[in-house]
Symmetry: C2
Subunit: 421 residues, 2 copies
């Protein structure tokens, strides 16, 4: 049984590799034609999609999934429209493939061109939201990559229906039929096999909870691009504009507390803590935000309902209306705190002092470092990438929001006239 | 025992991470000062180096290592001069850190700068040649990375002596003492621990035989950049200049058969095979090159001493005066052959037909693809990188020769004036 599953996954991986060898030279028009066909397929199969989605929803309720989870699973007309709109936006974006990134003539007459090309075969491992199937298939197609999709078991029927729409669209398009494949088996064994296929699969992107991502990172022989979590920090320096600081602190925690670029820790310079903390704490609590504070902050916030923060609190992604507060004596202490407890995602300093801002921007080790702005802007659309397949807190290949260009690598094309020594 | 080794390796990794947080903001002058100090240390410690190296050489002969292996281990005055020269060349190279790679102003007024920064902590795993210790330490320092070096047991005494010279130089320099650390234990367990330290170590670069590299790739939780082997192909198209083809075929096999960018397979279009093969085969055999040929080539080379090539031969890096020959009926067959048997390193087409050359350059999936030149040019110095830490046949992060820029990643620095939505 396990042997036949292993050969099934290997066959999928091989087909993806073969498809990728054709996809890499597909024209922009051909890729856009396929994206258009998928969009039309979604529009004309709404009933099928909703029927299949109903099966997943029924199962989810049967299994007692939380209403938040059930909501993420649901395919509404609006969400189908959202997928269609996403595909049509991809069509409008420039094709990343074929751009010459660098070009030089060597003294021996060789002309060396560094040209952007697709990575090859990309495996996407994700959890409940079925729209990820369309978003990721579209991003991989537009960037000339073959994709292997492995969705969560909660969304099995929805994903199979979406995959059959993609498959029909590919068959009617000039692109290879195997350019997008969904792994039909949702058990963990199938995933384990996929993670060993480094001869055919070139990159794995896991999207979901920290548990899934850690499992993939620890078990994959294929290179993984990921972010585990977003423990983002906001540092209010001695010379910050305190009105700006209050607006940014409250909005970047309470705006959408469940997203990875929301802040988890508010770090405040001791010299302004007394004037700043009580008023910001009041605003935060008015938004229903729970506070976990260090001893110094607790002294200042006497009379407020606060818990004392543990070391674990400072390293936790709350994903909730909860904020940890730390008072520091210096910029250096703030930077050291962030480099210890942050997850390398997004960090911000609020200050009117340019020199201190520059020290922060240079010495804080994270994908995105801000001066006088909210961490909430770490996002492919906000960065002007036009689309986003994820955010990387890794350092190799891509860091921060990843769009179409980050789904590409490069090759060197060298032109000579007979050089051999 | 294993527990204490594990804590020793973790302590080394933590110190490297802390050093990297300082190194990333070191100035070019500070880094060059440290490189200069290492160079001076090598020059003034020649006797120590040769004494310690003698211990390794004696052990190597005791253990019956081949004379080629013993030769690779040996530190001659010339080789010490080579290391010193390498460090002084690094000093002359531009600092890759701090370059703004991209900059944009967003409609909301945010200014987003993509800035080149060091990767962080790099582990280098290598085998016998002790000069790798200095080369890699120097490259990592110049690019602002902390390094953890793990050399082979054959070179243990030489590497410890080199590491103590580096350590003394760092202590006398403005850089952190732990910017370069050698793992003193050479057993496999120490390596296993290092490969799990993904919270402190950001990239592993293995250099050595395919066995070592596969071990590292299969067991590392830290991202690895590598090339397993160089199975490079040369395709002589129907419209090639046959004199050029002969020169390139002979030189790119026989010039230095043991290097990764030498060719292993000569692919010849059937239409010119009869006029080309006998004369090139004669030249190759005059250089002592053994031939392993397919059936079609065997017919044409009747009377020559050849073996029939197996499928395994076409996928093998001979590292020796041995060449496989394949006759194909079309450009498409040549490309499919290369994409199946090549290792993604370097591939070349010789042709006077521009359209066919472009098809080859686009459709062959390798780090470096050539038109009318030898594959032997895949090298950091030949590509003008000024230095080389290795060649990658991977697709993520870096592909082909890797120099100082490839030892860097980037971060986004975002400047606002209070934006929060």
């Amino acid at each position: 049984m396990s042997n036949s599953l292993s050969s099934e996954i290997e066959a999928i991986a091989k087909r993806a590799r073969n498809a990728s060898l054709n996809l890499c030279s597909s024209t922009t028009a051909e890729k856009n034609e396929a994206l258009q066909a998928i969009a039309r397929g979604l529009e004309s199969n709404r009933r099928l999609l909703k029927e299949e989605n109903e099966k997943d929803l029924a199962k989810a309720e049967e299994n007692g999934l939380s209403s938040a989870m059930v909501d993420r699973l649901r395919l509404t007309h609006e969400r189908i429209d959202g997928m269609v709109k996403g595909l049509r936006q991809l069509i409008e974006l420039p094709d990343p493939v074929g751009t010459t990134l660098d070009s030089k003539a060597r003294p021996n007459g060789l002309e060396i061109n560094k040209v952007r090309v697709p990575i090859g075969v990309i495996g996407i491992i994700y959890e409940s939201r079925p729209n990820v199937t369309i978003d990721c298939a579209g991003l991989c197609l537009k960037s000339g990559n073959a994709s292997i999709l492995r969705g969560g078991k909660e969304a099995k029927h929805s994903n199979l229906a979406l995959a059959s729409i993609i498959s029909d669209a590919l068959k009617a398009s000039p692109l290879p039929d195997d350019a997008v494949q969904l792994i039909p088996t949702v058990d963990r064994e199938a995933l384990n096999h996929l993670l060993t296929m480094d001869q055919y699969v070139h990159c794995i992107i896991p999207r979901g909870g920290e548990g899934l991502i850690r499992f993939v990172a620890e078990n994959s022989r294929v290179p993984v691009i990921k972010h585990y979590k977003g423990v983002c920090n906001l540092f209010v320096d001695a010379s910050a504009d305190l009105k700006m600081a209050e607006e940014i602190a409250v909005s970047s925690k309470c705006g959408r507390p469940g997203v990875c670029n929301a802040i988890e820790n508010l770090i405040v310079d001791a010299s302004i803590a007394e004037s700043f903390l009580p008023s910001v704490a009041k605003k935060l609590q008015e938004h229903g935000c729970e506070l976990r504070v260090d001893e110094k902050a607790a002294d200042i916030l006497e009379g407020f309902e606060c818990k004392i923060a543990t070391q674990e609190d400072f390293a936790e992604e709350f994903l909730d209306l909860r904020l940890a507060i730390k008072v520091v004596d210096s910029l250096g202490e703030a930077i050291a705190f962030i480099n210890q407890f942050g997850s390398g995602h997004s960090e911000s300093i609020l200050t009117s002092n340019k020199k201190r801002a520059e020290t922060f921007l240079n010495d804080v080790d994270a994908s995105s470092v801000y001066w006088n702005a909210s961490t909430r802007f770490t996002d492919g659309f906000e960065f002007g990438l036009g689309a986003e397949i994820g955010i990387s807190t890794d350092r190799l290949h891509a860091r921060g929001p990843m769009g179409l260009e980050e789904l590409c690598t490069y090759k060197y094309q060298i032109i000579g006239n007979g050089q051999w020594k």
